[in-house]
Symmetry: C2
Subunit: 436 residues, 2 copies
């Protein structure tokens, strides 16, 4: 029998509901795995094993009341937790202990999940200090960012679920680099309260798992739209748009192979693949996202700048001081391009069951100083649409590479069902082994 830490959340949840596994046993297994692996992977910033086990024992006393009952979450250290420090990986917040859980933490905690610990992150999920976390398939490579620790911990079987965030490409890209599943839901359908704001129009809470079913369990817990009356989707007959995006010139061989392989496997399984060329105006969305990020981050970090200018990383000081020279007109234009593009994309996406598109240019880059390019993520973040990352192939460096599927806003429930069908068709290779 597998140690419980190696079960997907879906498998562990079934065993907990049937009485063959306790939350306490699952947490013990995760803690053992972390103890053995963290010196190499460095995914965690704060863990309190006794407290996690105490939570699990409490949960075990209650009957399961939600899909995540008894399961464990890692929490990116940009979300407030009432029982663990929240440091943002920033010198300004070392030892900071919030009084209250962030909204997303509260939702799963009050649904019977165990908060296992806080995961390492790029500073403020936005820049400055990198996470110390390493890619579990090759320690010389980045796990991606900014949700570095969350993605690596789930990939390395240290925790079944973890929360991340995406403002540019911080959530979906690390999923690809770590061979795991990720969901970035529609903007606004999961509360960001208790997350250190980076950019109000962009920040989105997401989660990682090791199967499409795992992602759906969290989606159901958050009552995402489109769950009621759901029936599983069959891959046969699915109509999938293949979208190379206006930034296809940034694709690498491994990313190209993953997208091509995904399309071929889907076609072989009976799906219909159609090339999708986005309207020309969409070419401006990546720049619009960057404008909004710069302008909104200047607002977000003003309190920190005034409180402790010298300890705020220069990347954030520069934003507050508007070193890139963002103008009010540029902000309004960026908001309005996005505002016009969202319904346009929804109309396009609604003609398909999903839009298939890269998660990242290719494999995880070597080194920890660069977490990889978010060029294939920012447009979707700005469009506010749900995105689901699905593992697909292995690149020439032996690292996993995934793709993402995208749907119209509020199509979250439907997209999760399509993801399960797509995953069954394309996630068919053995994942490379994590380092021993």
């Amino acid at each position: 029998m597998k140690d419980p830490c190696f079960l997907t959340a879906a498998e562990a949840g079934r065993q907990i509901r049937s009485g063959s596994l306790t939350s306490e046993a699952l947490i013990r297994s995760c803690l053992d795995r972390i103890a053995a692996r963290d010196p190499a992977i460095k995914a965690w910033l704060h863990i309190d094993p006794a407290q996690a086990l105490a939570q699990a024992r409490e949960v075990d006393k209650r009957p399961p009341s939600s899909p995540v009952h008894g399961l464990a979450f890692g929490v990116k250290d940009v979300f407030d937790t009432r029982d663990l420090p929240t440091t943002q990986n920033s010198p300004l917040y070392q030892g900071h202990q919030p009084a209250k859980d962030a909204a997303c933490v509260g939702v799963v905690r009050h649904s019977g999940a165990v908060i296992l610990g806080k995961t390492d992150t790029v500073e403020f999920a936005g820049g400055g200090r990198k996470a110390a976390t390493r890619n579990p398939y090759n320690l010389a490579h980045t796990p991606g960012g900014t949700s570095s620790g969350s993605a690596a911990a789930v990939a390395d079987f240290q925790v079944p679920f973890a929360f991340g965030t995406q403002t540019s490409g911080s959530h979906i890209r690390p999923a690809s680099f770590n061979g795991i599943y990720a969901m970035k839901p529609t903007w606004g359908v999961v509360s960001r309260e208790g997350f250190k704001q980076l950019a109000a129009m962009l920040d989105t809470v997401g989660w990682y798992g090791r199967s499409a079913e795992d992602l759906a369990m969290v989606g159901e817990t958050f009552r995402l739209p489109g769950f009621s009356g759901s029936k599983p989707e069959a891959v046969k007959g699915l109509k999938i748009a293949l979208c190379r995006t206006p930034r296809w010139n940034k694709i690498e061989p491994a990313g190209e192979k993953a997208l091509k392989t995904a399309a071929e496997r889907l076609e072989k399984a009976g799906a219909v693949i159609e090339e999708l060329q986005l309207p020309e105006t969409f070419a401006g969305l990546n720049d619009a996202q960057d404008t909004i990020l710069q302008g909104e981050a200047a607002v977000a970090f003003l309190p920190d700048y005034l409180a402790s200018n010298d300890r705020l990383h220069v990347e954030f000081r520069d934003k507050v001081e508007n070193k890139t020279g963002i103008t009010p007109k540029a902000m309004a234009d960026a908001y309005d391009l996005a505002g016009a593009s969202r319904p346009a994309f929804d109309r396009i996406a609604s003609k398909y069951d999903a839009v298939l598109t890269p998660s990242a240019p290719g494999e995880a880059p070597e080194g920890l100083g660069w977490t990889g390019d978010w060029v294939f993520n920012v447009m979707w973040t700005l469009l506010h649409v749900p995105c689901i990352a699905i593992p697909c192939t292995v690149g020439s460096k032996g690292l996993p590479v995934g793709i993402q599927i995208v749907g119209p806003r509020f199509g979250d429930g439907r997209l999760l069902r399509v993801a399960a069908a797509v995953a069954a068709a394309i996630d068919v290779e053995e994942r490379p082994r994590t380092v021993q």
Copy 2:
């Protein structure tokens, strides 16, 4: 000489900078006023006089470094404060002590302002329990809501500045009911972090003062767009659009008189007034705002619902349970109508120096059970545009009535300068005396 509490923030600031007033003396005067008046007005939920005085003494040791140096803020009790409880006027948060200031509190605190205390609010700034606060001009009347205590405290000379919020009409309407000035800036230019989220696309931080100059001091502290290279505006030659809005049928005689009087006084002072008819599609914005509020509040209160369903007020439980039946399509349609209307309004507003429009239907209603109608506010909130409330007339019940001026997004600095000119022309009547 006036007791310092009766000075506008601008007057007190000048005296502090010249050395003729200390922050400590100002705070003492405010605390004395509160001690005398709070039993009747009930604007405050938490005050710690010793702590406020200690802050003032610290501030007095430092040279002024910002426009709000040494001045005092009341803070609506939906914003986290590190040194005072934050209860949301909700049974769920009684005694809750945050570990960190909300972003807006941090910005003014780190700019040398004193946090005087927390003001009463309608529960979660959204519904449920009403504030106990009374209208300082007539205790039998509401001060409006949801920023009830903040508006009444500023009107009653208990504090020069106070923070409020506007998601529907919670900030501008109480300004009119209390004969004070208010600014709701462009959405996104002031961070809402540390505010209990109600609706992500709508929530806006605002502030109250007793002059247009007061409002500009806070605007400058927050580095609002349009401050650099500013020159005062003269009222002569200003081009003002008179906008009755698609809901003019809701106006009451006192509101009609205030708008008419404002236009007449402006015209007399040399401004050009033009009637503005908004495009027909704008008639749908009020309903769109309500749809978004219902849909986003369901997301915001899910953690509280799961944590303590029985203590969460039924108005919020109903939102989480989607009792109004908001559909995903309705949400997307509402977002998209707003997305299309924002640039359309900016184009209209840019032809004028300001748009003149009602702040509220009329005088503050009698009783504390109904805080008045937000019908003249919600469209502007959804459009994300800056709004400035300016006092104008007195209604037949002896209560003050104001108007608001509105500008294009990111026109905050300019609108503040126009507000100073407009105020000089229209805020020319003696305010009724507050109750003795």
